[in-house]
Amino acid sequence: MIREARAVRMSDAEAARTSEVEIRVVVRDVITALAPEESPLLDGLAVLDDATVMRQLTRRTRGEPLGFGLGETVALATPVIWIAMDQAARRFGETVTDGATRVIAKLLRRNLDRRTAATVMPPLSREQLGEVRRLVLETAARHRLSEARASAIADAVVARLALHESEQAGTQPAAPPGQGPASSPETQER
């Protein structure tokens, strides 16, 4: 009996994992499509864990001795997408860790090289996708991206997430909020 129950729980966990997406994957896909010039930066960020990336992206740049000086800042898409996705992931779900092995690995990492688990975006409802879009637009405004570019990025992010939803559900891709049919009841329940 115990063995059966464990088997059921494991299959639930597998089902949950397959419906999630790591936010760095979404960032990579959107950047490749919309801002390929930023791809080298993503290569650089790829060697860092998500928590570190977030700390670095949100840390204020200070004037350092022998720097060129704090002049112009380029309106990059990468920090906008990453920060907005991270906020959304925190709001809509928890950073998913997979079983006891992951917990141990996490502890070990935290103590050894302070790496933490990847931030994962849970499956989202239509309203939640709308919220993600709003978050991207807000963050883009803070990062002084033009409105047109901000909305292109926001749309691409939502499309990428919806595509993921549809791939997982095996149905039609969920249209961005206000642009197409409602997402699947399964997603809405969550």
């Binding site: 290569d43 860092l48 001795p65 060129f68 000086g69 704090l70 112009e72 800042t73 380029v74």
Partner: protein, 954 residues
Amino acid sequence: MGAAMAVPAPRTTEKPLVAGTTLRFAVLIVLLLVSSGSMMWIVTADGLTQVPDAYGCLLAAGGDPVQGDAANAAVAAAHNAAYESCQASHNPVPAWWVILVWPLLLVLFSSLVFRLLPRWKARRARLVPLSIVDRDGEIGGELSALAARVGLPATPRVLVAPAKASTSALVFGSNRRPWVCLHGGLLVQRAEDPERFQAVVLHEFAHIRGGDVTLTYVTVALWRVFLAVVLLPFVAWYAANTTASARSPYWHAEEPGIVRQFVFASAMVALVYLARSDVLRSREIYADLAAGRYGASRRYWALADPQAAPGGLARGWNSFTEIWRTHPRWEKRREAFDDPKALFTEGTLPTFLAGAAALLITSQLDSYLGPSVANSPGADDAIALAGAVVVAGIAGLVRWRAVLHALQTDRRVTSGTRTGLSLGVGMTFGALISSQVANLQWLPTQPEYLLLVVLAGTAFAWWTTQCAHLWLSVRRGRTVRWTMAPVVVSSVVVLWGWFAWWQTTGVSLAVNGTGADRWRLVLEQEFPGPSTAHQGILLVIAVVWLNLIWLNHPIAMAALVALCAAPLSAWFVALTAEAYRTVREQFTGILVWEAPRPPLRRLLIAATLGGVVGWIGAVDAMAFMHTWQASNGAQSGLFSLIYLAWVFVGLAAGMIVASAVSVALGDHRFSLVTAVIVTEAAALLGFAGWYVLAAADGCLGPLNTMATQCEWRPGAASGLARQLVGPIQLTAPGMALASVTIAIAFHRATSLGRGPVTYSTMRVTPDMTLVRRIWAGVVVSAVLGAVAANGLILAQNGTSGSKMAAAELGQVLQPGSPSPRLRTRQIGYWYNYGGLDIMTRWNKDFRRLSSALTKAADTGTGQISDTVFPPLCTALLHDTQSAKHYFPVPEPGIESQWASFIAKAQEAGRGCLNSFSKEDGDLFLASMKQFARATDTLGSVEHGINAVIHPGKH
């Protein structure tokens, strides 16, 4: 003036002479090292002796901590030997190695931090290797090409901050192994705008090429270690100590010192940040200009900082915040491309910081090296020299650069007043926060003497500016460095004199005041004679003269020679046609040629006039003293002193005339330097005239002063002259400075005096014929030779005025009547810090003497052994000497008994020893009785003391 140049001015570059920023870094490092030693030495010394015992020796000497610095310094000076010996045994100073251990620790830890800093920085900012971002190696290739363009021996190690969106970069590490960090924003922009990428990288590479990296990060490492190892423990120690001190009966005296330590710690933080940011801002502009030379496009400096300049309060706030930043405003950086003015006119901050650093370095070295090297000759002078190098190297160079830039761009040469005031204020600030002029009180006893520091800073800036202006004018078109070097060396010597004076006489004046009344009393005691009719002149002697006795110091002589030689030797230089500036005359519009220096003739006229007036003044003094000679018929010590004082006043009148004429007739560009030369020359001329009369004293009829018989007496005149020459020579630059200050204060120097000499046709031939050159040489050598020779005479025959003063000071001191509690503490410390020890030793030795006597009596022979008794008497005499060299008892009633004990004991001891040499049995017996009486008296002293410190038992 103010005319436009007919000939276009040469375009200025940023590097016609050294920038001096390396020296500023070095000063910062020295300040941190010295402060580490000094601060931890204080903590260690305080740890060895806790309050209130720290004041034990002062109390034993009859002092009272709450009476302030001057009163206690006088008490300590009055019993100098006893005080020093008491301090040595009861307030031990830390071992000599403590002086070195903290600076060494600082160096050790800093070198460790310096080595680890690049890795730590890269790790903390999560920088990634360039290869991860630059897979095809394109960026790496470009960086190598740029490094080769700049002339770097190898491409630096490059890292990337992928999360940084700014288009910036950064260099750290060391000059030999630099690490460059490129921000993500810069890399993204590179494809779209490769020139921007190049501009930023070239700026960073220029930092490496300019050698900025090691110095910057050595300072960063030193500062962090200083903060952790010195500043925080120092603050923590004083914070913990404050509670203990607050319970001390001397809290009132402790409070200013403790608060000052906190102010000092905060000021150190501010000074280090300001100094480092200030130098870095200069280095940024140098890197910008270098990047421009290597091919960076200037438009990237124009793109940055789009915000409009604010006005009013916001501007003030921005100016304040700017001085803390490591980068200048973009607006300033942009301007520097067109005109590197910012590098030449650096404002008042560097000089303020230089003044503060110089005073902090010298005063701290003085206070913590003082006890260890007090007896080693030249230690004080070496410390003073360090201060001189700091000020001359930073403030002097600031003025040289400002003058050079003004001359190169045909701008008006500013007087240097702002630089000088900031230097003076900086030095004053340093003196105030470092406890140099006040210890047991908030402000020095005579704070007005701090104005002398401000004046000295200002005078130095004026003098340097005018020397620079003069030399750059006469050597126009020639190598600036070689023109500047000898004058900067002279300015170091001048400042050496100032720092040596300030550390000794100046600080003493601020702490104790001139003590005019005390000095006058000393004079009257030293030179007995009828003086009641001459109180005024005695005051002049007391205030002016005796405070100038410091001049017998050899450095003073060197400083005086340098003060005159640096500008005067400019008249040696043969002028080339290039030295004459071509200007369009303001009103007529006609071209004229402007002479680079005023004619020597003008200086000679003013000096001669002053010399003659001074000589007449000296003659007047002789005539006046002749009348006194007739009425008193005696030439006592005081008589000759008053005579010399009147001669001094007479010669001073000549100096006033000389300096005033020099300022009024001279070239306003060089008002101070010419006034100094003229006044010094006038003083020496008048002095020489008086010397001839003094040597012929006795043959002068109504002018006979010291002698009544006619005879040529150069020896006697020299004896008097030695007393006079020092004050005269030191007063001359003071008079010149006063005249120029008055002129500037009331008229502004520019509207006073004449302008430069102009010619309507160009003088193609140099103006210095051989005859003129010889003539100039003779005059210059005569003045300098006279100054040097007189100084030398003085140095060899120096009077010991200061020592005399210290010894006499205590005798004329009028102690107040202390409270019973204070009296109890004073007597308690007197007893415990030496009195009890002396009494115990005496009683023990006396018991040995008594038992020897008893033994001799018991043998029945009545034989007094000359092997037994003389050593016993010597031991008692030795105890008496200890008592004599100890402090008097700080209670008049007991002190009279103590003095009586000493007198009796001395008499007994001498009598005992004499009785053996004379083989006089009666004398021996008398001495034994006297020993017994002395012991009785000592018993009364002990009883009296116990009655005061243990009142309940009596």
